[in-house]
């Protein structure tokens, strides 16, 4: 989605309650609960942060800033979620922010000690935005449990930079900032792994693609939209109407003919 700097600033302020100044790079921080996301947030922003609520919701919102290589960054701590399939308010907030606020970079924090479950969220984020940096946190815990992760291999398979960190020890944070900058500026091109679904799902997606094609005016991946429709996620359509002004007549999920 191409927004002017001013439009983006207004969007972030009015819809999400985040203050973004000119020239600042917007970074979203996503991840499962209990992965040390707040440790990373605090480590990067220090005292330059403040907490509040997401507008109109009783869910915590934290935003902070940091400087790296003379560039200024705004870090938005999204609610910890297991998934973005939007069945709870937290998931909806995270999803709406990633889809409609279009942060310059999204950092997904993974817990190295339960990689499989954490990848669930990462793979879902890949379907929304390619500008991602994966932060593999709790490496110290993984070491204690004698888990060895081949980080370069993971990087290859995921198609995005993977930074191993142990945030509590302050390890890996500089490299994380470096990768964030590289992805934000476009120096580093990413090619995130897209989930391969089973044949029935792929078939259904192909069937819906033509209709979905111009729905979000290229703001969102049509494939991802089709998947969400198959999921039965009407809240996404509410958000489309809400944030992009698509179809002002949309009043909610109703069908003219009932089955």
């Amino acid at each position: 989605m191409n927004l002017s700097m001013e439009q983006k600033r207004v969007l972030w302020q009015d819809r999400f309650g985040i203050s973004l100044a000119d020239g600042q790079i917007g970074v979203a921080l996503a991840g499962n609960p209990n992965v040390g996301k707040s440790t990373i947030f605090n480590a990067l922003t220090g005292l330059h942060q403040h907490t509040g609520n997401w507008p109109g919701k009783t869910v915590d919102n934290a935003q902070g800033g940091f400087q790296y290589q003379q560039k200024s960054f705004v870090l938005v701590d999204l609610p910890g979620t297991y998934s973005l399939l939007a069945h709870t308010v937290e998931e909806q907030i995270a999803r709406d922010f990633l889809c409609f606020a279009c942060p310059d970079v999204t950092v997904i924090v993974l817990d190295a000690t339960c990689l499989e479950r954490n990848l669930n969220l990462a793979l879902q984020v890949f379907e929304i935005t390619p500008k991602v940096v994966v932060c593999l946190n709790l490496m110290d815990e993984a070491q204690k449990k004698r888990l060895m992760i081949d980080v370069p291999s993971l990087e290859r398979r995921l198609g995005v930079p993977v930074v191993a960190t142990a945030a509590r020890q302050g390890v890996g944070l500089t490299e994380l900032q470096e990768k964030i900058l590289q992805v934000a500026s476009g120096t580093l091109q990413t090619n995130p792994h897209q989930v391969v679904y089973s044949s029935e799902v792929e078939k259904a997606v192909k069937h819906l693609l033509p209709m979905v094609g111009s729905l979000a005016n290229n703001a969102l991946s049509p494939r991802w939209l089709a998947l969400r429709l198959l999921d039965g996620d009407s809240s996404l359509l509410d958000s489309l109407s809400n944030y992009l002004g698509v179809d002002q007549d949309w009043e909610g999920a109703q069908c003219a003919q009932s089955r």
Partner: protein
Amino acid sequence: MRAVTLTRSLSEVWCEAEAVRKSYPNSFSDQIVADIYGNAEQITKQVLSNKGSNRSSIDQKIDNLVTSKWLGYPLMLLLLVCVFWITIEGANIPSGYLSTWLFAFQDQLTLWFQWIGAPAWLHGVLVLGVYRTAAWVVAVMLPPMAIFFPLFTLLEDSGYLPRIAFNLDHIFKKAKACGKQSLTMCMGFGCNAAGVTACRIIDSPRERLIAILTNNFVPCNGRFPTLIAITSIFIGSAIASYSGLINAVVISGMILLGVGVTLLVSWLLSTTILKGEPSSLILELPSYRRPKFGAVIYRSMIDRTLFVLRRSLIVAAPAGAVIWILANLYIGEQSILFTMAHALNPLGKLIGLDGIILMAFILGLPANEIVLPILIMSYLSTGALQDFGSLDELRNILVLNGWTWLTAINVMLFSLLHWPCATTLLTTYKETGSKKWTFVSFLIPTVIAFTACFILTQVVHLLGLL
């Protein structure tokens, strides 16, 4: 925002998608999730090698201990007692210092007011009312909060807290509520407003509301000094040599009563006005981690300190002005305060209190910690919040004003069960977004407090015990 012109409306697309969805025998949603996890599994298999058992033996050992049949509950109780003890004992000295400094500064303020020749009433409202009340709240509340919440955060960081919910869930299941409510109650021990905010950890809106409405039955840091003082005077002193132990037992009893009332009211709400889908629990038990002391404590202390300061400024300070005015503005022979207390006397007596005690509780709406000072001020007719020099001094004041052991118990009961403080009510409104439920959160404890005290009083009289 530009409206986008479409070839199809969202409704058309939605209905088409629904048709496709329903044509599939299974659930696309399930399949999609399964497929994503399938991908995740694939990737993980190729990059992860496991040199040993993933389930750390330390995790197992600790869990064997803290969730065991025989040791689980005692350890929890022991932990609770330790936290309370550290909070109460640890807060004494800083509270003392804060009191001394803040009230010394009050004397300085008085001097300044005299210097500039300010009228006595202005001095009264601003110094004796606003400043004194705010100072009281800070002196009484800041030290315990600055100890309790960092302790709690440490427990949270270490990974132990979900185990509490794990151990207690079956009790909450019987009350048709969620085990996580035990955690919100723990937060409520520090501050009921914080407890109400903590209810966000409960996913189901129905169960969240139950937890919010019942949080007040857990006595917060602000009510402890009152409970401890009264217990010490009327009950502990009965057998001097064991007074410390007796006090501990009585306070624990009060807390257990609070917990019992919470469960009962939760159950009642679940079966009447908050009936709904059955509760369920999905609780993640994270690995134990050594908590990061420095940063955690620092951040927690700052947050709590700011909270107390903000509260004392916004809520307590204005209340202080009002209280001073009520206590020093006279209608005829009596101050407004006394006139109101006199009017409330019949109601007070009915429930084993008196008009002044009831007045103190009402004026203590902004902050529970000023209830006792208001009480003493009223009994001594000093017109400004008063502290007691020693427990003996306090006992004299109370006994002189007609207190019996029944009065003491009723006051403790009322303190435990009565309406939430203003900050908690405001927080409840913020969290629920509903005036109706905020009113209910005020009504339920009030009705229960009056009923309980009434019944106790009548029973005692009936049995001729007093």
